[in-house]
């Protein structure tokens, strides 16, 4: 598919979304796969769900017991991804077709599930490696930042973008590992920034980062237009240690293979061919790309981490 004919691209997928609701968080960039997205009625999707033998893969709930996210595998018919108030989706087993029933809510709300779970799953089913990582492009090369939620990978990417890097993706990084150097693809053109992080940026840095398209508990920013893919040059694994003070330390990590294996975003695909694909992709990434551990003292702000990574990338990656 010619990307120009698509509704946009994200995670290496060109979205063939004729008749689908408009996206304001996609760019017309490069893609290596395509996915067809069609709107459907919730009743039709639910009927198909109930007609198929299925297994629950994810049942995530709020402390109150209310459903947060449910993912099910339908016997031979793909995957069901649903979150109350955020939409219901049926994704084909090969990841090439998505049927979606969307609630009548602001676009930013239904797009959260769509970009955080639905498209990454479709990309994974099409053979892309999906890491739990944020990424920027610096001097034409992609740098990925892997860390558990709340460790600061989004803040790091935001601060680097505020200093002039191109923002590539927030939280979910899609990689095509079929070539000698993995290609990193952009995610949604959306980053959710903690209010205090956004407030800490000076006005010029905010302009460089992008435009605000909404505010909830976080500030929703559409990053400035940038390239949609870049060769992956390094992966940085962040670890925050609240008991330590001092400088941010960055070093080559000889346990990197385990870190890559443990950084997959779609962890519920447990069939043998998915496990094998993840092992193969992890091995390729570890052989092709330097892996660094970033030890962040608890008292260091995101801007400090950003400066240390930028300096490290400039000196170590040539």
């Amino acid at each position: 598919m010619n990307p120009a004919e698509a509704a946009g691209t994200a995670f290496g997928l060109a979205l063939d979304a004729t008749g689908f609701r408009a996206f304001d968080t996609l760019s017309a960039g490069e893609a290596c796969r395509r996915v067809e997205i069609v709107l459907d009625e919730a009743d039709n999707l639910t009927k198909d769900l109930k007609a198929s033998p299925r297994a629950c893969l994810v049942d995530r709930r709020f402390p109150s017991g209310r459903q947060m996210l449910r993912v099910e595998q339908l016997d031979g018919n793909g995957y069901w991804v649903a979150a109350p108030g955020y939409g219901r989706h049926l994704i084909s087993s090969d990841g090439r077709r998505i049927r979606s029933a969307l609630p009548r809510v602001p676009a930013l709300q239904w797009q959260r599930l769509f970009f955080a779970q639905v498209l990454p799953l479709a990309a994974a089913l099409q053979g892309l490696e999906i890491l739990h990582a944020s990424a920027v492009v610096l001097d034409g090369r992609a740098l990925g930042f892997v860390a558990p939620s709340g460790t600061g990978k989004t803040s790091l990417a935001v601060n680097l973008a505020a200093e002039g890097a191109e923002f590539l993706t927030d939280d979910v990084l899609a990689l095509d590992v079929s070539t000698a150097t993995p290609t990193a693809y952009e995610g949604a053109r959306l980053v959710n920034v903690a209010r205090h992080e956004y407030a800490a940026l000076d006005p010029a840095a905010r302009v460089r980062l992008g435009s605000v398209i909404g505010r909830t508990a976080k500030v929703h920013v559409r990053p400035a237009e940038a390239r949609s893919s870049a060769p992956l040059a390094a992966l940085y694994f962040l670890r925050r240690d609240s008991s330590r003070s001092g400088a941010v330390e960055i070093r080559t990590d000889e346990d990197g293979s385990r870190l890559v294996l443990g950084s997959g975003f779609i962890t519920y695909l447990s069939e043998a061919h998915h496990q094998l694909a993840h092992l193969e992709a992890s091995a390729r990434i570890a052989r092709a790309v330097p892996l660094f551990r970033v030890d962040v003292p608890g008292n260091r702000a995101a801007a400090d981490v950003s400066a240390a990574v930028a300096e490290h990338a400039a000196s170590e990656l040539g």
């Binding site: 293979s257 385990r258 043998a272 496990q275 092992l279 992890s282 052989r287």
Partner: protein, 103 residues
């Protein structure tokens, strides 16, 4: 048969054996280690570089004894020492279901 003799016989049996990976076991070489994956259990097992090379040779050579000879040459170690180490290594992998030994 005393324990020492029993161990010697067991070692000789292993050295005459052929080691093969079951279909549900795969491995890939990373930069600093080799990772073995049991697709039935979803468990990963890490081997250092020497262990990874031993596994490659165990899979490739007709017998464990042949693999030991190759390892001894490659790493410039006495054959008796390598045979003992490789027998322990092989027994450990077999006990985890990562290789199958056949006579």
């Amino acid at each position: 048969m005393d324990a020492v003799e029993e161990e010697r016989v067991e070692k000789a049996d292993i050295l005459r054996s052929s080691a093969r990976l079951p279909e549900h076991v795969v491995y890939r070489t990373f930069v600093y280690e080799t990772v073995v994956l049991n697709l039935q259990t979803g468990k990963y097992h890490g081997l250092n570089r020497t262990g990874g090379r031993m596994l490659e040779l165990l899979e490739r050579e007709p017998t464990v004894g042949d693999a030991a000879a190759k390892v001894a040459t490659e790493f410039s170690r006495p054959i008796a020492e390598v045979e003992a180490d490789l027998c322990d290594f092989t027994s450990d992998l077999a006990s985890r279901g990562l290789i199958v030994l056949t006579q």
